[in-house]
């Protein structure tokens, strides 16, 4: 008995909004999309905080 192979993962450009294609990639696609989305959200949050702090100066 052995584990299943992992093949067929192609190079994808990960859109922030995700895609059906990414969901169809299962756990791997979901993880990739959430990382991208969360990173983008964190970046936006940081930018927003920065701009707010600049406004305060």
């Amino acid at each position: 008995m052995k584990k299943q192979k992992q093949t067929g993962v192609k190079e994808y450009k990960i859109p922030v909004l995700g895609s059906l294609g990414l969901l169809a990639l299962g756990d791997v696609g979901l993880k990739m999309w959430r990382e991208k989305r969360d990173a983008e959200e964190a970046k936006e949050k940081k930018e927003s905080e920065n701009s707010n702090s600049k406004g305060d100066e």
Binding site: T7, L23, A24
Partner: protein, 873 residues
Amino acid sequence: MSKKLAKKILVIGWDAADWKVIMPLIEQGKMPTLAKFMSEGVHGAIKTLDPPLSPMLWTSMATGYRADKHGITGFVEPLADNSGLRPVTSTSRKTRAIWNILHNQGMKSNVVSWWPSNPAEPINGVMVSNHYQVSNKPIGENWDMPDGTIYPESMIDILKKQRVHPEEMTAAHLLPFMPNLKEMDKNKEKRVKSVANIIAQAASVHAASTYLQRETEWDFMAVYHDAIDHFCHAAMKFHPPQRPGIPDEVYNNYKDVVVSGYLYQDMMLERTLNQLDDDTTVIIVSDHGFHSDHLRPKYFIKEPASPAQEHSPFGMICMRGPGIKKGEKIYGASVLDLTPTILALYGLPIGETMEGRPLVQAFDEEVSIDTIPDWEKVEGDFGMHSTDLQEDPWAAQEAMQQLIELGYIEAPGENIAQRIEDIKNESKYYVARNVLEAGKINQAIEILEPIFEQTQETRYGQKLAHAYLSTKKFKKCRALIEKLKEKQIQIKAEEEKLSEEELAKKKKGFLKEIELPNYIDYVEGLLSMNLNRPKKALKSFMKVAEKAPNSLSVALNIGKVSLMSQNWTAAQDSFIKVLAIDESNSFAHHGLGVAFLRQNKLEEALGEFLTATEFDYFYPKAHYHIGETLAKLEKNEEAAQAFELAISMSPGMTKAHKWLIDIYKNRLNESEKAVTHENFIKEKIKGEIVIVSGLPRSGTSMMMQILDKGGYDVLTDKVRESDTNNPKGYYEFEPVKKLMVDKSWLPEAEGKVVKIIAQLLPFLPSNYDYKIIFMRREMSEVLKSQQIMLGKEGDVKSKVFPTGLNDAFQKQLVKVENWIDSQPNVEMLSVDYSNVIANAEEEIDNVISFLAKPGKKNEMIKVVDKKLYRNRS
């Protein structure tokens, strides 16, 4: 042990997937993964069970049993303390599922979201229950994983992360389903939320399964997806072509939902297959289909679980991988066959009590199939819950809400006790339908009689009438039909009292008026057909057809009665209609062929007969008709082959032997071949005997007298003289009583009419052709009459009859009927005693037509003496 064809098996369940939607998409290149899969394996239709309710069906698939055995009888069940309802649970399953058997055999399984699988069972492997992906709370609120969702607990943390919340869905996910999304008012469009929910749930199941598929070791894996079913329930009404009454705007908003659902499923399949090793056998299967064309119901008949009316009787199955043929079609699969097929692929024995069979036609080599008496009786560890397991009621709440939103169940409301009682009765009704379909009619009657008595619910009465009909309880059936008609009048009277507004409210979404009379007329049609009244039957069926133009069973029966009445064009139209609904219906192909043949449309007839045998190869009558058609087309060699084939399947088929004699002697100049068949006819088929049969005291003597007066040659020795029980004589022939041991008198009966009681019929030798006029009479009347004849009038007055006699006679009748059905040299006409009394002329017309020999009709009618109808029930 049988040969093991498969090392690993993956089953992917696609609830409601249907070839009618898939095939056009494949032709357009839109489902490339499934298309490739099909070319590498086998595919075919799979027959669902009645009622087509998913929890019952997926449990039948996982166990090989129907609902009366497996115990999952609907969508919901009462809590153990009757304080409320919950979705059906794995603890209610009474039989072992495939993963339990594999656990016992030391194999490792992953099961994801099978319906119902909550609470997850402690199997060797991982089980993710069907509550895993459900969420009805806003994102950000605590989305806990209730106890029982996942086994083993060590997998909870990792699998929890694989769940996708509906509110995570973005325009990128939704636009392929609803291209006008940006113009739609999403707050007002409940369906947008539904679509997001379905996409997210499918993504959750897929993420969990792809993770487990890749990161765990397993021998067997089963993954269930409900996305196609849910997309279809949400939007099939908007699927192209646009139907009358569907506004353009709504149509344009949702017309792509169903197709996109299938495409999404195909994309997920690609990933699943890409992760597989070459040594895995894969089965993709649905539990039922979904009407996608002109058969889409415009209205639901008002009943619980009414959305199931959109389900169609045939789903899809595809198999690929080690042990499976390539590029072939399979026929005749049933949802009950899945578990036996998996066991056979693993080389494990099939339980003899299982109701399905392995789909060996899909296997790439012939294997012997081992069996054991019953997997349920094997002792050992099967990875099941302990019997005293109590489920946390909280865990079921969200899943309950989802079932309510899908329309499968009603909200419990305030009167919980009544609702629980309703659910219990409804579950019994579902089981009755399930066993009725399996031919266990008496079991169905035992279930239906008390629930109809208690509730007077029309649907229960309808099914009960059908069950009575199937067991030839014509009088009970008639009485029930009358009762249902009375109820219909009551309902109409009550509706007349309602205001227009109240009535519109009551009927909203439903064509109430088709619910009751529709089915009553249908059963009445069947009753008339059983009593050999094709014209009356046709009238009833036509009434139903007006209101339910797309009913397969109605069209099929119109075809049957049209053939009986020799109305070939009407038969043709009806069978064409059946085939538009179910192109694989071999009976309809055969019936259509007969209709064409009798109109001398020989090429068309041949095509239909060939198709009938393609779907059901062991169909001797179809092979016979292929022979007859080819003979008429002067294709004599091929005709001879077809007749020979028909005879190989049904050796006593006299007509085929006679055709072969003609072809070999007169057309092919091969007289030596004709000799075999001439000898057969000479030795085996000695002539025709007309038999009047039935239970003693069912009117056989009366029928003998009718035939005697009609000028037919009756065989009687008048040893038994007339008496008060049979004042006009018994018309018996003493040697008949010794038929079991002495058949030497049969030549005397050639060309004559002889009376033989039903129980002796199976002792008739196969070397004669028989025409049997089978007298039927209500069993209570038969028993009453027999008791009087035996001098037990006291018993009759006190209505005390020998215990078990009724059942014993019923069983004997079933045995005799089975014998008649299996004999190619026997034709039968059923005649109901009370109908002869009430409608003598009509019944005597039927008898004369059956005998195909003119009789003195007026003399025959005079025999019927209403005064002799003494022992009515």
